[in-house]
Amino acid sequence: MNNRIKHQEEKDNPTKSEISRRDFFGLIWKSLGVLVGIEVLGSITAFFYSAKNKSTTVAKQLLEAGPVSSFGMNSVTAFMGGRFYLARLQDGGFIALSLRCTHLGCAISWEEKRKRFICPCHSSAFDINGEVLNPPAARALDYYPVMIENGIVKVDIGNLKERNTFNKEQLTYAQ
């Protein structure tokens, strides 16, 4: 009580000092508190992110799909281990389509009879290029880059590419 009266006096008498000693120390304590908060937050962020960046430095994960000649024109081959469908279009171009539906992430399946991919979750449909035939999906299927070396088709399954629509540049042709 006594202290509070004193404190009040200090406040009422601004000529003595602009900031009272009590306010000054209060300010220091608050700043220290903020500093500690930032340190803790920073440490936690570092704790979570330091290891993550190191573990994702794997460059290329190439999966050998097989010789070019083993894939017929206008055909789709499933590679469940690599989570993709390898499609060879009418003109001989290859594209490796992710089996994740772009709507909500379910695994699509290839319907040979109607030549299209169907999602069992919300009946989105995609053509052999991965282009949307039927909503609710709004984007074409994601794809993995395809490389052809010495007549062997290889798929870079560590490098998923997102796209809105299909275009010819996404295809890979045998030389």
């Binding site: 709507h103 909500l104 695994a107 979750c121 919300h122 609710p136 709004a138």
Partner: protein
């Protein structure tokens, strides 16, 4: 034990607050269910292995080799379901008796946070069995996040630690489910109770304010004991009779048909069938959450009655609005499914407009017509109007959830519950 029981209660409570239909004991039930979850959860942890290779097998082992293993798992599963339902009913009760005003404002917000924590606890637990049901429900549930504008994709990648569910996801979910969330839940539940007591205990109608004060022991403690025993009996009997679901081990290459989000997100998933994801997963849920958090801070000007549904007029308008919400939601689902699909009907317009803005405007227009034709004539007070909107949103949400759980079958086509 006796002392502890008396210590966490006030010495005396109003006789009016003891009436069962004042609170239905829902808050206390939720607290008991949390205790059941902690006890059974600790037991399960002794056998569960949080890795994609072993998680499923550890549950098979628990089911087949461990005495009471299946029963403990059932109890944990079903009391988790009950907890979410009871907490939701508690939330309805608190709103509909007006127990969110004045000294209870902040506690309303903490209650909402607790409800969200319970949802997250359920969601993180859903993944742990690592069966087909878990894998695909969480895949769908987390992909909904990626539709949030700007940060959505990054947020999803951060939460699941990659492009698709992996060992890191399972470990993160396990850690949240068994450490972070229970800890937060426990601390906030205690705080929630403390604030109820600080606000003067259970809210009672002012007409009952003169009711006699009676000693807590035995009047309240015995009643709580009876409710606890009955609830415990119901949970245990249910768990003895009905097994928690467990499908085949998760197979990332093959989706179940149909794949559904966990049941409490079935409403959002149903909304996703009808609206562009930006609206279904972001604008509408965020709008509802903001409205719910804002409720205690809306200036009403009318004197709180603390009666169920505020007043006779409040009761009448709530009943009519509930009916309106059921009709418009069911009609909307059927119309969109069988008569007009906005996205297919207007292929030239961006889906955000054709399947987002246009149906939303139509919906708001129908609500406005309902307001002009019926609600306006009742001359409701501000509180009663807020209540009308609340009832509409809650009932529509319940209808969507029921439709998503019970009326969506193969390929997510509409069907009857016995064919699902």
């Amino acid at each position: 034990m006796h002392n502890v029981l008396l210590h966490i209660h006030p010495a005396k409570v109003s006789e009016a607050s003891l009436r069962f239909n004042r609170t239905f004991g829902l808050g206390g039930m939720a607290a008991l269910l949390i205790v059941i979850q902690i006890v059974t959860g600790i037991l399960l942890r002794f056998y569960y292995v949080p890795s994609p290779a072993d998680a499923y097998n550890s549950i098979i082992f628990l089911k087949s080799q461990v005495i009471f293993g299946q029963f403990i798992r059932n109890t944990h599963h079903w009391s988790g379901v009950f907890l979410l339902l009871i907490a939701f009913l508690h939330f309805l009760r608190v709103f509909l008796t007006g127990a969110y005003r004045d000294a209870r404002k902040i506690n309303w917000l903490f209650g909402l946070v607790l409800l969200l924590l319970i949802v997250f606890s359920n969601f993180t637990g859903y993944l742990l069995p690592w069966d087909q049901l878990a894998y695909w429900a969480i895949t769908v549930g987390t992909t909904i996040i990626s539709y949030l504008p700007l940060a959505g994709n990054g947020l999803r990648t951060m939460i699941i630690g990659g492009k698709e569910l992996n060992a890191g996801t399972l470990q993160t979910f396990f850690n949240f489910h068994t450490a972070v969330l229970p800890f937060l839940l426990l601390v906030l539940v205690l705080y929630h109770f403390w604030r109820v007591r600080k606000a003067g205990g259970v809210l009672i109608p002012e007409t009952d304010e003169k009711a006699e004060m009676v000693p807590v022991m035995p009047n309240l403690v015995f009643r709580e004991f009876i409710v606890a025993l009955v609830l415990l009996a119901v949970v245990l009997i249910f768990s003895a009779l009905v097994n928690a679901p467990l499908h085949e081990k998760a197979n990332p290459a093959y989706s179940m048909n149909p794949t559904k989000a966990p049941w409490y997100f079935a409403g959002v998933q149903e909304l996703l069938m009808h609206f562009h994801p930006f609206f279904a997963a972001f604008i509408i849920p965020a709008g509802v959450m903001v409205f719910l958090a804002w409720i205690p801070f809306i200036r009403s000007g009318d004197k709180p009655t603390r009666h169920w549904f505020f007043s006779e007029k409040g009761k009448q308008s709530s009943k009519a609005t509930a009916l309106f919400a059921v009709v418009i939601t069911v009609a909307g689902i059927l119309f969109n499914q069988y008569v007009l699909n906005f996205e297919i009907a207007m292929p030239k317009i961006p889906a955000l407009v054709s399947n987002g803005i246009i149906p939303l405007v139509i919906l708001l227009f129908l609500m406005a017509i309902y307001y002009w034709i019926y609600i306006k004539r009742l001359r409701l007070s501000r509180s009663e109007l807020v209540q009308v909107l609340f009832v509409f949103l809650i009932v529509a949400f319940i209808v969507l959830t029921i439709a998503g759980i019970f009326f969506r079958g193969k390929d997510m086509e509409l069907t009857f519950p016995w064919r699902v």
